[in-house]
Symmetry: D3
Subunit: 294 residues, 6 copies
Amino acid sequence: MSEPKNILRLGLPKGSLQEPTLELFKRAGFNIVVSSRSYRPSVDDSELELRLLRAQEIGRYVDHGFLDCGITGRDWIVENGADVEVITDLRYSKATSWPTRWVLVVPDDSPVKTVKDLQGKRIATEAVEMTKKYLAANGVEAEVEFSWGATEVKVPEMVDAIVDITETGSSLRANKLRIVDTLMESYPQFVSSKTAARDEWKRQKMETLVLLLKGALEARHKVGLKMNVPAKQLQEVVACLPSQRSPTVSTLASQEWVAVETVIDEATVRVIIPQLKSLGAEGIVEYPLNKVVH
Amino acid sequence: MSEPKNILRLGLPKGSLQEPTLELFKRAGFNIVVSSRSYRPSVDDSELELRLLRAQEIGRYVDHGFLDCGITGRDWIVENGADVEVITDLRYSKATSWPTRWVLVVPDDSPVKTVKDLQGKRIATEAVEMTKKYLAANGVEAEVEFSWGATEVKVPEMVDAIVDITETGSSLRANKLRIVDTLMESYPQFVSSKTAARDEWKRQKMETLVLLLKGALEARHKVGLKMNVPAKQLQEVVACLPSQRSPTVSTLASQEWVAVETVIDEATVRVIIPQLKSLGAEGIVEYPLNKVVH
Amino acid sequence: MSEPKNILRLGLPKGSLQEPTLELFKRAGFNIVVSSRSYRPSVDDSELELRLLRAQEIGRYVDHGFLDCGITGRDWIVENGADVEVITDLRYSKATSWPTRWVLVVPDDSPVKTVKDLQGKRIATEAVEMTKKYLAANGVEAEVEFSWGATEVKVPEMVDAIVDITETGSSLRANKLRIVDTLMESYPQFVSSKTAARDEWKRQKMETLVLLLKGALEARHKVGLKMNVPAKQLQEVVACLPSQRSPTVSTLASQEWVAVETVIDEATVRVIIPQLKSLGAEGIVEYPLNKVVH
Amino acid sequence: MSEPKNILRLGLPKGSLQEPTLELFKRAGFNIVVSSRSYRPSVDDSELELRLLRAQEIGRYVDHGFLDCGITGRDWIVENGADVEVITDLRYSKATSWPTRWVLVVPDDSPVKTVKDLQGKRIATEAVEMTKKYLAANGVEAEVEFSWGATEVKVPEMVDAIVDITETGSSLRANKLRIVDTLMESYPQFVSSKTAARDEWKRQKMETLVLLLKGALEARHKVGLKMNVPAKQLQEVVACLPSQRSPTVSTLASQEWVAVETVIDEATVRVIIPQLKSLGAEGIVEYPLNKVVH
Amino acid sequence: MSEPKNILRLGLPKGSLQEPTLELFKRAGFNIVVSSRSYRPSVDDSELELRLLRAQEIGRYVDHGFLDCGITGRDWIVENGADVEVITDLRYSKATSWPTRWVLVVPDDSPVKTVKDLQGKRIATEAVEMTKKYLAANGVEAEVEFSWGATEVKVPEMVDAIVDITETGSSLRANKLRIVDTLMESYPQFVSSKTAARDEWKRQKMETLVLLLKGALEARHKVGLKMNVPAKQLQEVVACLPSQRSPTVSTLASQEWVAVETVIDEATVRVIIPQLKSLGAEGIVEYPLNKVVH
Amino acid sequence: MSEPKNILRLGLPKGSLQEPTLELFKRAGFNIVVSSRSYRPSVDDSELELRLLRAQEIGRYVDHGFLDCGITGRDWIVENGADVEVITDLRYSKATSWPTRWVLVVPDDSPVKTVKDLQGKRIATEAVEMTKKYLAANGVEAEVEFSWGATEVKVPEMVDAIVDITETGSSLRANKLRIVDTLMESYPQFVSSKTAARDEWKRQKMETLVLLLKGALEARHKVGLKMNVPAKQLQEVVACLPSQRSPTVSTLASQEWVAVETVIDEATVRVIIPQLKSLGAEGIVEYPLNKVVH
């Protein structure tokens, strides 16, 4: 009876990544319902079994084999030294699509200019292992203490420097702190246990999942664009569209016009629409997308 | 002067169905604004006059002719014995698209195994008539008392069993209750008074409404899919698409490719996209829909 | 070094117009983030520099040249006598797409029937200049006092009449007030300083912005519609579609059918879909749009 | 083993009376905690067992003996014809200390002037029995239908009159409704089952409860007042204090002064303090009370 | 018929002072209910008629005689040049009992050191008149423009300096602004029209009101303290209590002890209790007060 | 210059204990304001300097001397092995006055009956050190892993047992978990560094603080009671009052009555008031207390 094999056990991150992760799965076609006791979300795919866990712990439980795979930050995989296989990066985050960074931070007016200046000092951080490795790699000896949170208020009173996470750096600037160095860029990764990665069915299931998740991720910044173009201008219109792949050009009843349809980055629409208009395109329509799979 | 005939008076349900009903009308193209005194919502269709009423009462007021038609649960139409004509079922609900069920419920550890075991017992419910008919049909005599709410806490202390509503049964399980039998499945229905159903203009207006509401309901679980396909693979690609109706195949400028566009269940996308890719489809794009009318 | 020229400084209105304005920019393709100190929103276009200011003050700061351009209500431009150039009207508002109106209001039972009856009376308003000009134009002398807010409660106890803003008039009716006259219809306008309007790069940038904003505004009430039509019915189907411009008609693999696609007002969909069905259209699909540029 | 007798099972009303009831018990010295499954609140008195039930149902369950006693509105006891013993009135309500009233209501412009004018009409109400008795007592025959809520919007469209609850009448006036007659004044009552009232321990326990509840109720509108008074003015000061009972007059170290302390209605403080000052009282201090037991 | 005289029309400030003002009245013994249309609050004193108005406007309406009296900030009385009689200062504010201050503010790094440096500059403020008078008194000519709000963001970009309100200055520091000078300290005042102040009944009514309001204000920072003291230590205990007036000393049944009771500043309790203990006081109890009238 | 000595640096716990701690200080007479950047609350005592830190970290920072003293849970002091001096226990908690307990927990249906059964198993906990010591003391070898939170969901899937915190045990029961053993009872403690405890001024300051905090804590469950008693009943009345210390008995003007005043547990009021009444006491008044210092 091979049925038990047909379940993929997947860990999803609680906390700041939870909402964007559920949103991403929804766009990928998976409806996840988190009930009040939020540890076991239900999902409308009977081949998946979900667990909602702290991002810090997912790597460990994938490594130990309690989970087949999981989505969690690259930072915590490294911090915990989890021995897992990275299936793919998934570059999304709570607010933006920037990666988060782990940075070495001191007060604006601190004498510390480089990591070397921390010799013999005290550093607070949630990522003790990452920080110790970083100091060792730089030949610096310093005391590293675990911070239970609100790390940024501890400097300079309690410690000389901190290693903390930031997205845009603006909160650090507001607190009059200065970034000395970047230890790591982090973003979500889809990771698998070594065992699951060798199981054919699980590998296949993970690849399908990743295909759909990346299709949904891709679509977040893409839009569909269609327009009617005078047949004789077609060449120039096509030339001005981004060339990822050639647009769909359909013949129309009226032979003097053709219909052109393409998918482009939302960010370039504002540049391209004025150009299209000046080339004679009419009835330009932009519409939203759910998924884009190349 | 035939003008008075050109108004359709429609009752909409307050309470848990209110938001999903207004949402459904919005997707169907009707913008309804519920002001603070919420009994008479306004709508951007001068042929409609809306009343917002308790689901329990809509059947009665349609039956009496105060309303031409209404949307309410099948359960309350039956409970009140309202003499109305069902125009169509509209299968939506507050949270899911499951029907709600009226179930006979006892504590997990109750000796009651079937309805027969309730002879001489006491039952609390909001649906007294429905429960009495059900007991009579099963040849059981028991005391049925009206419950003003929070019915599930009354068993076993106040009564031996309850007849209550459930969607998924999970809240019953959490309260350590057991379902003995299902009395009725319920879902919203669009009902008309006998008189309105015979009036040609009103009948026509109701049918148009229902066409648009069902179009919007259908679209909730559908998406549009388009892709470019090598002409020689077209046959196989079409074969793998669900066959509700044949997809739209457009010729392209490049004769080696065709554009294929179709509408499919969102739930099947995650199965089909990997297949399409393996058949050579490119530039697969999924986009959202507002309405689907066959 | 011509770089300083490549910045357009744009003022956006705080308060009731803030959310719809940010929403409009988002649909136009500009992502604006308002941080906690909300005066300088950031935007993902390095050629734009934004300021978030009270609608009342934007005209003044454009006039003075502190801003190149801004979006604010026509009313405040007139009230402040700001000497600016109107690039375009943008007809949106907080709740609806109606314009707001400045109206002369008295209690239901006031003897005042026309503005002439206000001779020697007292009027409270937030728009003192506009009211004074209006009275002068009507040859009426009356005392006009500045109201800091909650103007409608002051009549009849504190003053004989007020000049206040309204969208639908329903709040006035609820307060048993009567509109005597309308002083001005107002809606947002995109205005430029005289200097910026003469600068070629800024003029071009503003026109591109306006093109995209109007494309987004237009799309709010439009939807895309596509369907398959029996070739022999095409003429009749096309005739029943609104004629803004001819729909896109694509040939299909099956020659007995053609695909028709068009963009129409959402409000007309509910009339047209039943007609299309009766003309033999099949697979009618409605989808949402982000932008429509003619 | 007589222990089971030492439990008093008390029903408390859910809904609008819940918060003021819990607040009243807290002031009376009983801390009640309502957990998430709110049917069985816990209380720091091991002789009490609480049930939280709809006000409409408490009379029935006391009558049937499932509860020894309960607090609920007089209206629902009458409406349900519950055969219980009234231990005491407790005059508090959600917002004020006015009683609520059940009133017969028609639109402002209705021709109905007295209950007699309702012959042959239709009336909606949540209190069907109360209304039928009232009509019978007045020799009027009319159709009475149960209303599931929002009763006030049904007149005049659905019914000719309603019987509804009101505290101040202001909401009725705002809805342009007119009170024709008052059917009943209602306020909370502490009621006991006939059986419990005959049980000596339970009777004693209920009387202690009522003593403390009334002590807390009394204190809501009382304050303590103390002051120093010149001995020779004592007579006059005492004369000006409300005479419920004579104030506590303490001798002081200095024989020319005495200390006077009393408990008075908060509402009279603002009248009495100026008088006391003019009579020479000094160091007047007002302090809050928890309970007042005469 | 002298009855119309027996009404005092009192204006109360909306906005940030509204809640502390209503709270103060409640402690003074007046229950004010602000209904949804908040202009005419009701109060349980039939001799009072309340109006809730913007603080900026109350002085004007008292001056004009529409109100007999009002509570509003000293700043707005001065700004509007209202010709009213100040009955008393009432030193409370939204958050603290500090006065608010109107200050001249520039950016931290501005060259402006004193008001003199503003010659020929531009200043934004909500208090245009106050600022103009201040500049004139200092012999400085500068442009003063009315700011509709969010004044602090306008410097240095739009204007060179601002005149704005502050309580603690901390928000200014956070915005990197510097206070150059203080134009005025402000706090609420109870003001009367000249006419009302000459009316005997109204004058008397206002004085009673003020007595009770000040009694309540005083009590906010006072507590009652009572203790038993060995008779032989009485002298020393009394000496250590603040001497506003001599404490109440009561004889006790046991002649070796006396009871001492007094009212002291809450802020001094933490200093005094340890002293009292060391002097032999026992059973020290602190209790809250509602009003303190000397 | 001895001034620097006159500052006591005190750490307060963030999180679930924050609100009750600030509330306790307020009742003790210290007003603490937590600004948006919440690390350095301000307090109206210039001899105190506050830091708001995670409860887990306060012991460490007191031990290291960054803080003179702090309030934190006994559990974290033990867990971190902080070398501090306990000044006093302060028995309060977020919801109740029960201590919190660290308990060893397994699923209801686990075979684990005692700690001995955990040999070779895996345990998750936030208190790794405490758990390791406990296991060692019981001669059990098991794997202990740090849990980042939501520990209770990990059993039985991820681990065999957990060590977690509970107040009432009800959440454990709801999750179908069973308590095997209690590792520690915890409650807040006021701890001092060894250095600060030897500094005379700091020691004195801490003792005053503790006196006031305990006075406020004591008053939470006490009330004042006063009544008039017939002189001849005095003996019996006094006998029925709890005997902590003798009540204050004052002579009255009328020699047949005496005034009796005492402080008792709020929980006993409901027993005593009926007794007092039956002994002839009149005008019984209960009033709230802020502090009680014996």
